[in-house]
């Protein structure tokens, strides 16, 4: 198969970027999208041109590293799949393909298709955990959890932190990411004690990092490679309102513990 690729090239965080066009052939349908870029990069290195930088690692759809807008879609046309799980048989021979980095102010470009997603780490650092130290945990079976709750927690916990939700959202909101973590911990008794504070601190960090507000457009769910439901955003909103009311009554500072 043959393709014409238009790829965003940007030498560094401060440098100006531009779309560059490359023609490539000898591609087979079995190749993953990233393997197709590997082929291009091998050729570029041989021609003395720097390869296209992109984040990738496990190549089996679980590490959350890969992050590309393909023809305007986060992770490309395949539903419920990361870029590394997208195969070239999903394209037609001769297609033109536009490849860009994640688009969101909170994900600044470092080089070519590589963006800085450390904002997600900072959101988790602001409450996306249960406050327990190692050691001293009670027996695992001392806390029965209804299967339905554990299943719901797992549905949310599947989030791979890739950032497709924010990249796909017209507001560049990462609310699905926040909701997945809040929904995971909040569905289980271990996470309940801190749920009220968690929801506010995580949202405060989300806003501070420069992500936009959620206006229930739903692009995030469509782009999510793990197909995490926007129902978790609804749950997040309920928790947030309850928490805000509680803190207003109690006179707690907004966003504080």
């Amino acid at each position: 198969m043959k393709f014409t690729l238009h790829i965003w090239r940007q030498p560094g965080p401060e440098a100006r970027g531009q779309m560059m066009t490359y023609r490539i052939d000898g591609i087979t349908g079995d190749m993953s999208f990233l393997e197709m870029i590997d082929v291009l990069n091998e050729r570029l290195i041989k021609d003395g041109i720097e390869p296209v930088a992109f984040d990738h690692d496990c190549r089996e759809g679980i590490c959350g590293s890969c992050s590309m807008m393909i023809n305007g879609l986060a992770h490309g046309p395949e539903r419920g799949a990361t870029t590394c799980q997208l195969h070239m048989r999903s394209f037609r021979d001769g297609d033109e393909i536009y490849i860009e980095p994640w688009r969101a102010k909170a994900f600044p470009v470092l080089r070519d298709l590589v963006v800085d997603r450390s904002a997600f780490d900072r959101i988790v650092q602001s409450g996306g955990y249960v406050n327990v130290n190692t050691g001293g945990a009670p027996d695992g079976n001392s806390l029965p959890i209804p299967k339905a709750d554990a299943d719901k927690a797992m549905d949310a916990a599947q989030c791979i932190g890739c950032g497709a939700c924010a990249a796909a959202c017209p507001n560049a909101s990462a609310m699905l990411f926040v909701a997945a973590k809040v929904g995971h911990l909040g569905s289980m008794p271990q996470g309940q004690a801190e749920q009220s504070a968690r929801v506010r601190t995580m949202i405060a960090t989300h806003d501070r990092e420069g992500f936009g507000h959620c206006t229930n457009i739903g692009e995030c769910e469509a782009a999510c490679p793990k197909e995490i439901s926007t129902e978790f955003i609804a749950g997040l909103n309920r928790d947030y309102i309850a928490s805000a009311v509680k803190s207003a009554v109690k006179g707690e500072a907004r966003g504080g513990f």
């Binding site: 720097e50 496990c58 799949a81 988790v124 650092q125």
Partner: protein, 639 residues
């Protein structure tokens, strides 16, 4: 020869860990703050160790080459984690888990370490539950378990098919919490390129910031490597693309002993290679072998036929034929070798003739498609996504692939290498799996080391050391930094014709063919010679673009491949000198007439730990004799 003192505590095997803790030295909380610990890697072992050490009060600096500590390859583990909880009342115990792990490792692991692993396995589950890991539950709300890897018990805890992910996120969140508290300083996108050893002690590391390209040093009272395995030395493996041997290999070059590099695990149920462009192999859970039947055509002439055109009488269900009592559930190493034999015989199917059928036809006939879909639906989907074929209608094609490496840096009972101050945990060390790892044991070991072993043993060691790091302008730091910069410059100045990926592919192929599933004296010798040749060529015909400043993926890759080329020779040398077959290491000269692996306990009941003697010198093979106080080595038979 160096002396390898395992520092195993006194007492009977089940008492050793208790005895260690009784005598363990402590450091008061106010003084812990004065010690700085560097942790490299943020997989299960690294993240759990960083969090636990920071909770104790140490000053922790943690490094990973990913953009976030949540991405390490522990995340890809599917199956589950073993623990001797005996929630099922099915006869499990710490002793039984210990014995199964020792036997699974073909009696090539250190008893004391393995027993400790089994002991702390029960704490891991409790800890993870407290963190909010969403383990599978039964309708009564209690934890569900399943059987795994041929065990006769149901001791494996799991989170759907994403156990590694959920356990890693638990550890990552514990780490995030310590970062928020200011107890851990996290350095993402920072790759360790050298170990700094001063007067024979590990005192810090040299790193490269992968975004700015800056090379710098970090000093510490102790360095912990949690940098994973070296499976990617074979180029194609189920490891993530970034997995590499650089951190452990550099430590080896600075004096740390590398133990049992020839112990590599090959997993039988991976999706076969489809062409030269392929960058990695994908594993499908072993559970598929519960209902799938493995076969190849009896006649070479049939290999290109559609499988439905091959009648039952012309199919060779070779596992059922050779191992009637275990059949399709024969252990990983045995099934893998049988697949290779069938393909070597010219009866392999699919592109390149490197594949065997895994057929669900019988199971679908017996249980119906719906039942099979319920059990394995996600795996069938994954297979279809990658191969474009429908596994319900046409048998899947599978082939073995490198999956895990049991070898690693040598450590004593306290997880410290022979270089004082250098600790090694998780897959990066050699200690617990012997010559073969059992399913669902890797997650257990990573978390055991990080949560429940290192916090004790590191404290014990540090208590005897005066706190205080060296300044990073100390001569040894400057020397190591200069050597790293020089090395990067050498790579950048290479103006040859071949890319690092091409060298990697070529060297990986040599290793896979000659030191892969089956090895001989001649094949190991050939591998060493050919890799040596390739290494020489690499230095004058490599092509690397760009500069050292800024993000340069070509440079990162070339730097890792350089180490793979050298390390591959060490692996082959170890395979050459271990003249027996055990676990994942199969020497064709050493087998029983029926083709089973023949262990040689007289001569090889020991750990081989290699030390570096210089770029052109042969490394030294040091030996730690294994002792058998609790169990008696026996022959593994699966007939």
């Amino acid at each position: 020869m160096i002396s390898l003192d395992s520092k195993v505590p006194s007492g009977s095997v089940p008492e050793k860990w208790t005895n260690f803790k009784k005598k363990q030295l402590l450091i008061n909380p106010a003084n812990k703050r004065k010690y700085t610990v560097i942790v490299v890697g943020t997989g299960l072992a690294g993240a759990s160790a960083s969090a636990s050490l920071a909770e104790l009060g140490y000053n922790v600096q943690t490094f990973c080459f990913h953009d976030s500590p949540r991405r390490a390859h522990s995340i890809a583990a599917q199956g589950g984690i073993n623990a001797a909880k005996n929630y099922r009342n099915d006869g499990d115990s710490v002793w039984r888990l210990f014995y199964d792990t020792i036997k699974g490792g073909d009696f090539r692991a250190r008893e004391a370490n393995v027993h400790r692993l089994a002991e702390v396995s029960v704490n891991i589950i409790d800890q993870c539950v407290a963190q909010g890991v969403p383990f599978a539950r039964e309708y009564g709300g209690l934890l569900d378990t399943r059987s795994f890897g041929g065990a006769q018990l149901q001791r494996t805890f799991y989170c759907r098919g994403q156990t590694g992910q959920q356990l890693l996120l638990g550890a990552y969140q514990a780490l995030a919490r310590q970062i928020a508290y200011g107890n851990v300083k996290m350095f993402p996108r920072t790759e360790m390129l050298d170990l700094v050893v001063v007067d024979g002690r590990a005192k810090g590391i040299v790193v490269r910031n992968l975004v700015t390209g800056q090379v710098s040093s970090h000093a510490a009272d102790a360095v912990v490597l949690a940098t994973g395995g070296y499976g990617n030395v074979y180029y194609l493996s189920t490891n993530a693309i970034g997995c590499n041997v650089t951190a452990t290999y550099r430590a080896y070059k600075r004096g740390a002993a590398f133990a049992n590099p020839c112990y590599t695990q090959i997993h039988p149920t991976c999706i076969p290679v489809s062409g030269d462009h392929q960058s990695k192999l994908t594993l499908m859970s072993e559970s598929l072998r519960n209902d799938g039947r493995v076969w190849v055509p009896k006649n070479r002439a049939d290999i290109n036929k559609h499988p439905s055109e091959i009648p039952e009488t012309d199919r060779d269900y070779y596992l059922e034929r050779k191992y009637p009592s275990f059949g399709n559930l024969a252990p990983r190493d045995i099934s893998s070798r049988a697949a290779k034999e069938a393909c070597d015989d010219g009866r392999g199917v699919g592109p390149g003739g490197r594949g065997v059928y895994l057929d669900f036809g019988t199971a679908i006939g017996r249980l119906g498609k719906a039942k099979i879909a319920e059990r394995y639906g996600n795996l069938f989907d994954m297979y279809q996504r990658i191969t474009g074929e429908n596994g319900y209608e046409r048998p899947m094609r599978i082939y073995p692939a490198i999956h895990y490496t049991m070898g690693g840096l040598w450590v004593n009972y306290e997880l410290m290498s022979n270089v004082p101050g250098l600790f090694v945990i998780g897959e990066a060390n050699f200690s617990d799996h012997g010559a073969n790892r059992l399913g669902a044991s890797a997650l257990m070991q990573g978390l055991a080391d990080g949560y429940f072993v290192l916090p004790y043993t590191l404290t014990h060691w540090l208590a005897d050391q005066k706190p205080g790091t060296l300044p990073t302008n100390h001569t040894e730091f400057l020397k190591a930094e200069a050597e790293t910069t020089e090395r990067l410059k050498k790579l950048l100045n290479a103006k040859g014709k071949k890319t690092a990926a091409e060298y990697h592919r070529e060297s990986g192929k040599i290793l896979w063919e000659k030191v892969g599933m089956a090895r001989t004296k001649a094949s190991c010798e050939e591998a060493i010679a050919q890799l040596r040749q390739l290494q020489l060529e690499f230095h004058h015909n490599l092509a690397v673009t760009g500069t050292g400043e800024g993000l340069n993926t070509a440079l990162e890759r070339a730097n890792r491949v350089w180490d793979f080329l050298e390390f591959g020779q060490l692996l082959a040398r170890d395979a050459l000198d271990r003249e027996e077959s055990c676990g994942g290491h199969f020497r064709e000269e050493h087998q029983y007439p029926d083709g089973e692996a023949k262990r040689d306990d007289e001569r090889y009941s020991h750990v081989a730990a290699w030390t570096y003697n210089g770029p052109d010198a042969t490394p030294t093979r040091n030996v730690e004799q294994l002792t058998w106080d609790a169990v008696k080595p026996s022959v593994r038979s699966y007939k």
